[in-house]
Amino acid sequence: MANPIAWQLATVAAIRDETPTVRSFTLALPGWPGHRAGQHVDLRLTAEDGYSVERSYSIASEPERDGEVDISVERIADGEVSPFLHDVVVAGDRLEVRGPIGGYFVWEPSLGGPLLLVAGGSGVVPLMAMVRHRHRAGSHVPTRLLSSSRHEEEIIYRGELDDFAAANDGFEVIHTLTRSRPAGWTGYDRRIDDRMLAEVIEPLGITTRAYICGPTALVEVAANALVRLGLPSDRVRTERFGPTGT
């Protein structure tokens, strides 16, 4: 059997800072078969002595882009991979990747909506692929993104999300800041809870499809709350990552 997801060499085509700790990398992939919004790539680094590590990174870009994907990587101070990507990798470098991977945490316009996206920190990355895909595909599915960040300067993709919301085509973004707020902040000011989700989902109704991505604790709280609010559990899709804060 041919390996359907062979490792291939990607060239770093561009690097962009999203926040002080999150950086996006555009990976040029000749022969990329295309992906579905929500899928990820595996990235492998191999040292000269043969030691290798793999990490999975969600694809942030929409499937409409040809031959390249964006990943957004948060720098974890004591990590093995993210400090290398942030501090060492420059445009033109080559990285081993395989993908696209995953079929569970995926949304396509044909699935319809309404759509509720719930993000904790950099859990917004695969949801951004869905938002960008919705926009590029011309979908008007009613969509609300609830994004939880610790501080204002840590909000990822803020400007682009505001631009999508300004298009008035049924997309709205709602922020909550859990640690500090700037003066005059009008968004939520606490961790995601039942009451917040009830308010956010109210305009969408209980036929909504929900995608939740973030740290395990946030995913558990949000998924359980949505099921209590009446969403069928098979319409609530989740993706967890490790114990970093929101």
Binding site: H40, E54, R55, S58, I76, G79, F241, G242
Partner: protein, 95 residues
């Protein structure tokens, strides 16, 4: 961004999505949307929704309903071991 904590020494509770690449290299297709029935409590969940524990020498997938082990995967020098005795069945749908 699945493998977010980026530290192999930390016992991380993730979900089956984090094993998607390994599964696909073993089974030749996506496993995260494959429904599996827990042999312990009979609950059916997609592999992507199962709890994944990746901190040990192998990976363990547990049932989100009863927390019992459904699948164990260990990569050894001679090959990859998949212990599926905790799964009553997995459904590979026709495409």
């Amino acid at each position: 961004m699945l493998d977010h904590s980026d530290d192999p020494a930390v016992e991380r509770e993730l979900d089956g999505n984090a094993l998607a690449g390994l599964f696909e290299s073993l089974f030749g297709g996506d496993m995260t949307a494959v429904p599996g029935r827990c042999a312990h409590c009979s609950t059916v969940n997609m592999v992507g929704a199962m709890r994944a524990y990746m901190g040990g020498p192998g990976a363990v997938l547990r049932c989100p309903a009863c927390d019992e082990v459904v699948l164990r995967i260990v990569q050894a020098a001679e090959g990859t071991y998949v212990d599926a005795r905790g799964a009553a069945y997995l459904v590979f749908r026709r495409t």
